[in-house]
Symmetry: C2
Subunit: 358 residues, 2 copies
């Protein structure tokens, strides 16, 4: 069965790897140590720290800055048809000077194009942006959309942005005019309504609570209706909450739609048609529970498989989706739903859009 | 079929109704207008504003300060065995001077005892506290626990408190030593990780996101394990999210329990045994979806019916729980689960604990 991995985290070895792609004065700021990169605001306690214990780059570090390592451990090991690069460096989360954050996003996109996308046609790329400056983000989307492997804008979920707010419309406009999809992934700064909690267990259980409000915000503020061709991917944000959020939104809509007349469909219909959610981290539930959950979602079109490579809670495509699920459903989750979302065929080398790049 | 309503909102006509129960200087502050009461930070758009359109007290206001109105519209109209008074005035949310907020909570408790609990043995009472001063809250719990109708401490869900944090332990200690239950209800200040949203639909869809973190916080920080006799009630916070939260917590626990060794049971087991969730506002789902959802919860012990009287989105006990559910499950939701939680029999007048009060 073919597998498309919707959430793979490439990285750099050091923030200084971005210096060649930065204009002055930012290049000098990085080179001189005026800013030393970001640090996550909590400690990972797993043996490999945040990553799988077997992830070691050529330089001995635990970062995944080495394409060859990812090829061997992921793309070839699991015979993936495609892997979607989603990054780990999200300037939006940093509250840096806006111009600097925007320049870092562009530098990172250029770094990824050269060091990752160019090396393997199985990679699907994301445009990283500084979402705090939506007009600048839109310009970066226009710039990167020309790259044939880029298929989505990556909107990082941070501590203070619900993307349905009208100020972010230029980003969706840009995604729409460039026929890109929009994906959401949490950053290390995402949190619940009361912060990150006091233990890793608490913090990690709170991450879906930063994602549900994005769906609520996008639908309540009419983003689904304003851009009917856009589709939205929730990455690593949980998925078993979808029935609750759909039912709650439907109820609120039926009861209060006079206040939100721009919403033209039941929110659950919007979600089933245009929202997709990646499966990692899968929860420890039985095949029967998977089937009941999918039944409550009302469709098996919304789930897409992901490994979250190289993180310590990696999901193995051979084990994560129970084999007792109907074969057609497993095929949709492991490949077909994502392939349709990203508009890819099963042989990357045959794709017209990629021929231009080769 | 007997019905116990787990969430009923009594009120006062004016904040000045509390003046007789306040010591100086607070009585003078209220009488003189130094503080004019609270105002919700958003507007209700329904015809009755926040309440049912048919709720009018004797003074013509839309507040429920009139026991007779509630008796006629709720207790007698639906032949309730009991109704749990949960208030609408929550000093914890107000960020007033701590002593003033604590005095207001005590005054409100005395107001409710005289104007509500004393008038009908079908009422079950809640202790209101200023949770921002946990030691003072504990003293108020000790004071009110002697009242025979009081069965629970009401912890208001505000914008900045996750109750598993160790500073709130004195409140749980006090509930435990007085054999009270602990209930959580949102206030007008509750919000999601990115605020309240821009429309009522968004705000109301976000309320469960202020409740899920309470469950996560209580379990991750060991409150369930530290007080094995305490049980916890989630009021008006949604319920269809429970499978997601249980599964996610189980996964995080299995993966990271080395960091939280005080947790002695799978979180889902803790929830099934000791967490209860009220059903209003029910979502618009079919009987089949109710059954699948209950199956995914792993028990029909956790749901308890509530009307949320007098609010505009009132759930009718004759309609809210579909009749296609097994009769034993409907009986549990409408009465038995809550009766066991609150330790009440089906005839309030026969209860030993109430004899002392009569």
């Amino acid at each position: 069965m073919k597998v498309l991995d919707a959430d793979v985290h490439e990285s750099f070895a050091s923030i200084k790897d971005l210096a060649p792609y930065l204009p002055e004065p930012y290049r000098g700021w990085i080179a001189g140590g005026a800013w030393r990169g970001f640090s996550q605001p909590f400690a990972y306690t797993s043996p490999g720290l945040g990553n799988r214990a077997d992830v070691r780059s050529n330089d001995g570090s635990a970062s995944v800055s080495d394409y060859g390592l990812m090829r061997d451990q992921l793309l070839d090991a699991y015979d993936l048809s495609h892997a979607v690069l989603t990054g780990y460096f999200y300037p939006t989360g940093l509250k840096l000077q806006y111009g600097f954050a925007t320049a870092l996003a562009a530098a990172y996109n250029d770094y990824v194009a050269e060091h990752w996308l160019a090396k393997d046609p199985r990679f699907i790329g994301s445009v990283q942006v500084n979402a705090r400056d939506p007009e600048a983000a839109a310009r970066e989307i226009d710039r990167m959309a020309a790259h044939p492997q880029v298929r989505q804008v990556l909107l990082p979920v941070v501590d203070d942005i619900a993307y349905g707010h009208p100020v972010y419309r230029p980003i969706f406009e840009a995604a729409d005019r460039n026929r890109l999809m929009v994906a959401f992934h949490h950053t290390t700064f995402a949190q619940g309504p009361y912060g990150m909690g006091l233990h890793y267990m608490e913090r990690h259980a709170l991450l879906p609570l930063a994602m549900m409000p994005q769906v609520i915000s996008l639908i309540a503020n009419g983003v689904f209706d304003a851009y009917p061709n856009l589709r939205f991917m929730i990455l690593e944000g949980g998925f078993s909450w979808l029935p609750h959020v759909m039912w709650r939104l439907d109820r609120e809509y039926r009861q209060g739609r006079v206040e939100v007349p721009w919403i033209k469909k039941l929110p659950s219909q919007h979600c089933r048609e245009r929202l997709r959610l990646s499966t990692q981290p899968t929860e420890d539930i039985s095949g029967d529970q998977w089937m009941k959950l999918i039944d409550l979602m009302g469709t098996d079109d919304v789930l897409v498989f992901s490994t979250d490579y190289p993180h310590f809670d990696f999901d193995d495509p051979n084990a994560a989706i129970p084999r007792v699920l109907p074969e057609s459903t497993r095929e949709k989750i492991l490949w077909k739903n994502a392939a349709e979302f990203y508009g890819v065929s099963d042989d990357p080398r045959s794709e017209r859009s990629l021929e231009a790049a080769e």
